[in-house]
């Protein structure tokens, strides 16, 4: 590993309360959940953080619990736990699908939904699911708890409204109506970073969210209202192609992302169309 550990420190709070107090006192603390993102940065020597706070032992943050209409998923719920959870399987099957395509089993055993949100990569595989589901990020600091809809959570590339003294403690998913649909297009069949990742719900107004086609995960409101207002799928694809802003990078091209996003939209529409 390329990072000097002797100069780094790990704070290990016993409770969520202690964790929040530590963050209040030192907002430079970098949280570690499962470690699957933080440790890549440490291994490559690209993570400047010097002080870390270990969230992993905080059991209350793992809880997956339906609370009436709302499904609360603890930030520390691993992708494996999410895939096994009966509550998630019945209420948010598109999240189960997404979780199963994040890396191999080793990554699924340690990667967490909170980490995926906090990491804020536009390619994060759970993010389109949460965006399409209109989920709410629960943030907590030593002094308060607040709820921010995911649609307002990100402010730019890997930037969010989360303050340095706040932790993501849970993600709350409202009751969903309509068929759920998810597709990830990676650089290969497994263990791949998304080139495009899309989640969609066929509700009265469809909700469609796409990753890796802009600096953050995005909803596509113009496309959604076109479809809701009875536009043909061809027209909707045209709207979509204008609405997203994909780029060229080492994994793919803007042109590919644009064309395939349109293809996925068609596929979503056709797949979810025949339902009664």
């Amino acid at each position: 590993m390329r990072s000097a550990l002797s100069t780094r420190e790990m704070v290990r709070p016993r409770t969520v309360r202690d964790a929040l107090a530590a963050l209040r006192d030192d907002p430079t603390l970098q949280p570690i959940a499962g470690g699957t993102d933080v440790y890549v940065g440490l291994n490559f020597g690209t993570l400047p953080a010097m002080r870390f706070i270990d969230l992993w032992p905080l059991e209350p943050l793992r809880r997956i619990a339906p609370a009436g209409e709302v499904l609360s998923i603890g930030a520390l719920a691993s992708f494996s736990a999410i895939m096994r959870s009966r509550a998630v399987r019945s209420r948010l099957p598109m999240l189960v699908e997404a979780a199963g395509q994040i890396g191999g089993v080793q990554i699924q055993n340690r990667g967490t939904i909170g980490g995926n949100i906090a990491n804020g990569s536009p390619a994060g595989d759970t993010l389109p699911v949460l965006a399409a589901a209109e989920a709410i990020v629960v943030l907590r600091s030593a002094s308060e708890e607040r709820r921010v809809p995911l649609s307002r959570y990100y402010t730019g590339y890997r930037a969010s409204v989360r303050q340095p003294d706040e932790l993501i403690v849970a993600i709350e998913v409202p009751a969903q109506s309509g068929a759920q649909w998810f597709r990830k297009v990676g650089t290969r069949a497994a263990q791949a970073i998304s080139k495009i990742v899309m989640a969609a719900v066929r509700d009265a107004t469809p909700r469609i969210a796409i990753g890796s086609v802009g600096p953050t995960v995005v909803r596509v409101p113009r496309t959604e209202s076109a479809l809701a207002n009875g536009a043909s799928i061809d027209e909707a694809v045209r709207v979509l192609e204008q609405e997203i802003t994909p780029i060229d990078d080492v994994r793919s091209t803007a042109g590919y992302r644009r064309t395939v996003s349109g293809n996925l939209l068609r596929r979503f529409w056709a797949d979810t169309g025949a339902r009664p």
């Binding site: 080492v250 793919s252 091209t253 042109g255 064309t259 395939v260 293809n263 068609r266």
Partner: protein
């Protein structure tokens, strides 16, 4: 069992008392001169080495074919990641924290091999009368084909440990060719210092540890000698991908004349490979690629021109197949296009033109009974259900593609003669011991050689011991490359073992040892008496024999994403004799998987002369979910001068999958002529030839290539 128990010791598993860790400081520009080196760390505990630390009497050279590559940069930088300075320290943390600033005067780099005016090597193979051949043609088909780099991704990265020993060093490492390293160390150090090279258990090579370890060994040795401490240098994955060799990318043009019933009358092939900044093994890659460029087909009038060009990129080098996967990719996709233009069945076209015993190759070599081109083709078609499945393809949406190929066994031409490889068999108190410098790198060398010796001496396999690969103990059997380990080295062992058998008479080895003491039989390779090769004109017997292969690929294209999904690859291989069928099957399966990666998902992205996606996250090799069913059939058409009839095996399997897959895509109506055929490429290929070529060239070379107008080829 050591591999399954975790007890096998790879380079990074070794520790020595007082060991230091080493690190390489590298240039960050593709071309220019170093004008300043500034060390920005507390020097306490550090060993620092630059080119001035090469001993007097030694040479700042990593010796290979042409001694042009410096061990450490003096002034001139010719590629990104060129090594400039070496550091060693007891603490890995201190080592990695040390900062070194390099200042440069930059010069404009050359990345386009077609625009480069620096020719590394040229090649010309001529047979018959090309002009006359074209006159006889009813139809001429032309085409340009491209292959990108490929990165080895051996799961164990490059690494060595150098230990001061006597007045020199012992060098332990992940190495395919210990005597290459031995020689490189002697040349660099000069004088008559003690040098001993020991191969550690090696976690994959595929050619990537053929020549590169010599550079690494020289670096570790310099640090070890200066500090008088053992020094371990292990590359992490990023450094390994960035700095070490890759498969040569190629641009290959074909022009073929045929009669209207599909008989080839003339072949004109032009091969360009990008060698990177130094010669390394490019002349030999060009050589093998050129010799295989006309494929396993009969043609009376052939011209093959080749050139390897210098560019300001990290030198490309050996990778399983060594030029033949590139040139046979082009040949086989070109054959498919010919079949399309003629409206002829692709199998029929190949069957008609395939080499038969008695035919001559492009270099004028007459093939004997061990030529199996038609046989492997027939078997692959039968085994894969090609005809039946292709007939249903309209409804199934599946694509089917065929590739027919061959691979010369051993070093080209007089190469084996010059290598003068040696092997030995000894009688010991407990049985028999074999001594070779061939390395076990996963292909089962130890098992296969022990099998040969056991069978030839007439003792149980368990009584055969394999000597450790230590250059102070074993004779130089030549490098573990070129599909020669069984056929060439195994044959020498077979001859030694047969002589041991004769000497033993009725005695067991143990009885003989008790009565007479030790016995050692050492022999040298004897090239077949009939083999003649003209190195100047590239005419004659290029290889003692060839292995023959045929792949049939069954694929689907995902309609939304343009991803190629291989469903099944049938791989038929004639290898003369399967000494150990399970090991041989493993070679075919593994080589086929690498060929599938080469065809579909392995993309090296070059930016400003360096690999921009040098991480396993971004350079993706096939996982269990990317590989299809790989169905292997081994055929045995013996080569009389191979051990028990064996031909070379290791590289053949990687020559076929890429064209088979691309041909399967073509069968679905998409005009594809390049690999890697990523989904981005397949998407573009459905619409615009020019766009595909531009995309490929941009990723492979950083810009459009000159001299080939996109879309006109």
């Amino acid at each position: 069992m050591g591999k399954a128990t975790g007890k096998a010791l790879y380079a990074d598993d070794l520790t020595f008392p007082g060991m230091l860790h080493g690190r390489t400081i590298r240039a960050t520009i593709p071309r220019g001169r170093i004008t300043g080196v500034r060390l920005d760390f507390d020097a306490a505990g550090f060993t620092v080495v630059d080119h001035r630390d090469i001993p007097d009497g030694g040479r700042n050279i990593v010796s290979l074919i042409v001694d042009d590559q410096p061990c450490l940069v003096e002034r001139e930088v010719r590629h990104v990641a060129e090594p400039v300075l070496l550091l060693a320290h007891e603490s890995r943390e201190a080592l990695l924290a040390a900062r070194v600033h390099l200042e440069y005067e930059e010069q404009p780099p050359v990345f386009d091999p077609l625009a480069s005016d620096a020719v590394l090597k040229e090649l010309l193979i001529e047979k018959g009368d090309l002009a006359r051949g074209f006159e006889r043609a009813d139809l001429v088909v032309e085409g340009t084909y491209r292959t990108g780099h490929q990165e080895h991704v051996y799961i164990e990265t490059n690494g060595v440990v150098a230990v001061p020993e006597r007045d020199g060093v012992a060098l332990y490492g992940s190495i395919q060719c210990p005597f290459y390293v031995d020689r490189a160390l002697r040349v660099m150090l000069g004088g008559s210092r003690h040098v001993r090279v020991v191969q550690t258990e090696t976690g994959g090579g595929f050619g990537g540890k053929e020549e590169y370890p010599s550079m690494l060994a020289c670096h570790a040795a310099l640090l070890a000698l200066k500090s008088q401490r053992p020094v371990k240098i292990i590359y992490d994955r990023v450094e390994d991908m960035l700095a070490t060799t890759k498969r040569h990318p190629s641009v290959i043009r074909h022009r073929t004349g045929l009669t209207k019933d599909g008989r080839i009358t003339a072949m004109d092939v032009d091969v360009v490979i990008d060698g990177g900044a130094y010669v390394t093994l490019s002349p030999v890659v060009l050589s093998r690629g050129g010799i295989h460029a006309a494929g396993p087909y009969r043609c009376a009038n052939t011209r093959i021109r080749g050139r390897a060009m210098f560019t300001n990129t990290p030198p490309n080098g050996a990778f399983r197949g060594f030029g033949a996967p590139q040139t046979q990719f082009a040949m086989e996709v070109h054959m498919e296009r010919i079949a399309e233009q003629l409206g002829m069945d692709p199998v029929q076209l190949r069957m008609k033109n395939a080499l038969r015993p008695g035919d001559t190759t492009a270099t004028g070599q007459t093939l004997a009974g061990d030529c199996s081109a038609q046989r492997v083709l027939r078997e692959a078609v039968k085994r894969s259900g090609y005809r039946r499945k292709k007939a249903r393809a309209g409804t199934s949406g599946r694509g089917f593609g065929v590739a027919l190929f061959y691979h010369g066994s051993g070093f080209t031409g007089s190469g084996e003669l010059k290598l003068a490889s040696r092997a030995a068999v000894e009688v010991t108190a407990t049985g028999v011991r074999l001594l070779v410098s061939s390395t076990e790198i996963g292909q089962g060398t130890r098992t296969m050689h022990a099998q040969i010796v056991a069978d030839a001496v007439g003792v149980p396999y368990e009584q055969v011991e394999v000597a450790p690969v230590d250059t102070s103990i074993v004779p130089d059997s030549g490098p573990t490359v070129a599909s020669r380990t069984c056929m060439v080295v195994g044959r020498i062992l077979e001859r030694c073992a047969r002589e041991v058998r004769e000497t033993l008479g009725d005695l067991t080895p143990q009885q003989y040892f008790a009565a007479h003491g030790p016995l050692r039989v050492e022999k040298q390779h004897e090239p077949p008496g009939w083999l003649t090769w003209d190195e100047e004109r590239y005419r004659g017997d290029a290889y003692a024999t060839y292995a023959w292969g045929c792949n049939v690929a069954e694929i689907e294209i995902q309609p939304d994403t343009y991803e190629i999904r291989p469903i099944r690859v049938t791989a038929v291989a004639d290898i003369g004799k399967a000494i150990h069928p399970a090991l041989a099957t493993g070679q075919v399966e593994g080589g086929t998987a690498q060929g599938i990666g080469f065809a579909t998902i392995e993309q090296v992205v070059m930016r400003n002369g360096a690999m921009a996606n040098a991480q396993l996250t971004n350079y993706t090799i096939p996982t269990t979910l990317d590989t299809p069913v790989i169905d292997v059939v081994l055929l045995e058409n013996p080569f009389p001068e191979g051990p028990f009839g064996a031909k070379g095996l290791g590289e053949l399997p990687i020559d076929g999958p890429a064209p088979a897959i691309v041909n399967a895509v073509r069968s679905l109506g998409i005009d594809l002529r390049e690999v890697p055929a990523t989904p981005e490429v397949v998407m573009l290929a459905a619409h615009s030839r020019a766009a595909v070529e531009q995309h490929h060239d941009l990723l492979t070379y950083g810009a459009a290539l000159s001299g080939v107008s996109p879309g006109t080829s």
